[in-house]
């Protein structure tokens, strides 16, 4: 069980807010499209903070400019992976950025087991830390 006040993983732009409605997700997609960014959907069952590469639910949608169409992709991903973490990202290709500019969660599993800190004592008082994923049942 997550022990933080939110009792959930707080990655992304909006994890401290109530779960986003489809209308709210659409408004954020529209924002990304107005900036000229490509929206992408990614999912994982391993939300470790250093797990950079979630699985892509298809390539970033460079050529899809219709927010409703993008929302359909997001919802198709949610139907396929209802117990996964799913995030929406927006990629900026402009010079000097060329990096994600948005990232927010749109789906979580019903139970979020979270992580524990594993400590390996080394020289002196130093400790080597590992953040280890917990699974439901741990």
């Amino acid at each position: 069980m997550m022990t933080n006040p939110q009792q959930r993983i707080t990655q992304g732009q909006f994890s401290f807010l109530p779960p986003l409605t489809d209308a709210q997700i659409t408004a954020q997609i529209e924002f990304a499209l107005r900036q000229g960014w490509a929206v992408s959907v990614e999912y994982t069952d391993d939300p470790h903070p250093r797990n950079t590469y979630w699985e892509m639910y298809g390539n970033p949608m460079f050529d899809l400019k219709d927010p409703a169409g993008i929302l359909m992709e997001i919802n198709a991903c949610r139907r396929t992976f209802p117990q996964h973490y799913i995030r929406v990202m927006a990629f900026d290709s402009s010079r000097g950025w060329e990096t994600p500019r948005m990232s927010y969660l749109v789906n979580r599993p019903d139970k979020e087991p979270g992580f524990r800190t594993v400590r390996m004592e080394t020289e002196g008082r130093s400790i080597r830390y590992t953040t280890e994923r917990l699974r439901s049942g741990d």
């Binding site: 401290f16 927006a90 994600p100 500019r101 992580f115 008082r125």
Partner: protein, 495 residues
């Protein structure tokens, strides 16, 4: 020795280099027809000349004393390509609202161009030894302020620039599309390492991204640096596991010698910290050394601008903070405190926009209302993340995002640790306010005007935010700024 003291430049070489004293203008440091080269470094000074010294001569004197001149003519100039090495004052404008009819003695903006060969590559120390070296104590001027510099691309390319930069920092932290949130541990002095780490853990677990050592936390009798590092890293890792997010604490490695700083930085790295911190008072060379170390060790480098107000705050003498911003981007820091607009420390909104643009943009256009006197191409030097810290709280979130944008670290020290329901609640209040405001902004709402309402809506389901607004909602720091623009948007450069 008689010389035509009041006439212009002396062109006859024999006469020019005869022993004796000449006016700086006559020695060639005033060249109103000079067209700066793309490779010239250009400095813009605000000069208050001594009584009886005309503005052109004062500008020429500044050019002379910051480049090749000494008080008297020396024949050894003739062994060199001295025309090239001489800095050239090429333009002087009276500063608006100074001089006759005002309460301020006449001031002048002077544009001075320096050839690239006057400067050693990759050395802020060398650049500054000329530009702000002897000249600020020079008797011919009553006061002198360095307002801005144009650094040519050719010179910028000799600097590493930010060790990490905004893009890579965000990728490492996995945090996009919103300001980062931080807090400085309080009280700043007196906590033991164990007690100190408690504050770090609570704030990170509650929702902050970073906690920060204060500028004067180094290694004092109440808390040695090794203890602080060990307990803070414990707090960071425990909070990362509790939230599933990357967290960090700026471990201040400032100390008395470079050897000590390297030792502390190495220890921070060995513990797995993602960020270290230094103070501006360690000096330009030490900053550049730490920036190189940070680049080599995948470390984010935070700079606290401790000391800057001793020379940047008064308008007639010293140097403008925007110049420090430029030098620090060249020197290679990743974070720098650059003002809040709405907090407790000095900061006019237009001036602060100029600082932020200087740190974050790949190119800035001349914009006198923001205090930017030159077009500046940053030659792909990475972007520096500005940090807003000092007397800010969640109730100002709409103003902070409006003025400072999303690529900034917002640091709420008192606003987190002083929260009536505790540190975690304080952190949560800040994060909820931030996310609600970013969401509203992206949705296209008029968040600046609707800000208080947006916060109230979120406070309905977030009691920590409600408590924060009830406690600090009306707190503001409305003092007049001392460092303001000389130009209003409608004025032109020569107005």
């Amino acid at each position: 020795m008689t010389k035509p003291v009041d006439s212009g430049v002396i062109t006859d070489a024999k006469q020019r280099y005869a022993a004796g004293v000449l006016k700086y203008k006559q020695m060639g440091y005033w060249q109103p027809d000079y067209v700066p080269k793309d490779t010239d470094v250009i400095a813009l000074f605000r000069i208050t000349p001594q009584e009886g010294v005309d503005a052109d001569e004062a500008a020429a004197a500044v050019a002379g004393e910051s480049s090749t001149a000494t008080w008297t003519v020396v024949w050894t100039d003739r062994l060199t390509d001295c025309e090239l090495y001489r800095a050239k004052a090429y333009r002087v404008d009276q500063v608006p609202n100074t001089g006759a009819g005002t309460s301020t003695p006449a001031q002048y903006f002077a544009w001075i161009a320096y050839d690239l060969d006057l400067f050693e590559e990759g050395s802020i120390a060398n650049l500054t030894a000329s530009i702000i070296g002897n000249v600020f104590g020079f008797k011919a001027v009553k006061a002198l302020r360095l307002e801005d510099m144009r650094i040519p691309v050719a010179y910028l390319k000799t600097f590493q620039g930010p060790a990490t930069g905004i893009v890579v920092e965000r990728e490492r932290l996995d945090k996009f599309g919103r300001p980062l949130l931080g807090a400085t541990t309080k009280p700043k002095l007196g906590l033991s390492g164990r007690n100190y780490g408690r504050v770090v853990y609570e704030a990170l677990k509650g929702g902050l991204d970073f906690v920060k050592d204060d500028e004067n936390i180094n290694s004092q009798p109440f808390m040695g640096w090794r203890d602080r590092f060990l307990y803070c890293v414990e707090a960071v890792n425990k909070a990362a596991a509790a939230t599933g997010e990357v967290k960090g604490h700026y471990l201040n490695v400032t100390s008395g010698t470079m050897e000590d700083m390297y030792e502390r930085a190495e220890f921070a790295r060995s513990l797995g910290s993602c960020i270290i911190m230094i103070d501006l008072v360690i000096g330009y060379t030490a900053i550049q050394s730490m920036a190189k170390w940070a680049r080599k060790n995948d470390m984010i480098l935070h700079l606290h601008r401790a000391g800057n107000s001793t020379y940047s705050r008064q308008k007639n003498h010293g140097m403008n903070f925007r110049v420090i911003c430029k030098w620090m981007r060249m020197a290679g820091v990743d974070h720098i405190h650059a003002g809040t607009v709405v907090g407790k420390l000095e900061g006019d909104p237009l001036m602060i926009k100029g600082f932020y643009d200087t740190l974050r943009e790949t190119h800035t256009d001349m914009s006198l209302e923001h205090g930017l006197f030159f077009d500046q191409d940053w030659a792909s030097l990475r972007r520096v993340m500005p940090v807003a810290s000092g007397g800010i709280h969640a109730g100002q979130m709409h103003q902070l995002i409006h003025y400072l944008g999303e690529d900034v670290v917002l640091q709420f020290g008192g606003g987190t640790i002083g929260h009536p329901q505790g540190i975690q609640a304080g952190a949560t209040a800040n994060r909820v306010a931030l996310e609600a405001m970013i969401m509203a902004r992206n949705e296209g709402r008029d968040y600046l005007n609707e800000g208080p309402q947006i916060l109230q809506e979120a406070a309905r389901w977030c009691s920590p935010l409600k408590a924060a607004i009830d406690t600090w909602g009306d707190i503001s720091f409305n003092y007049e700024s001392t460092d303001t623009a000389d130009f209003v948007p409608t004025a032109t450069a020569s107005a």
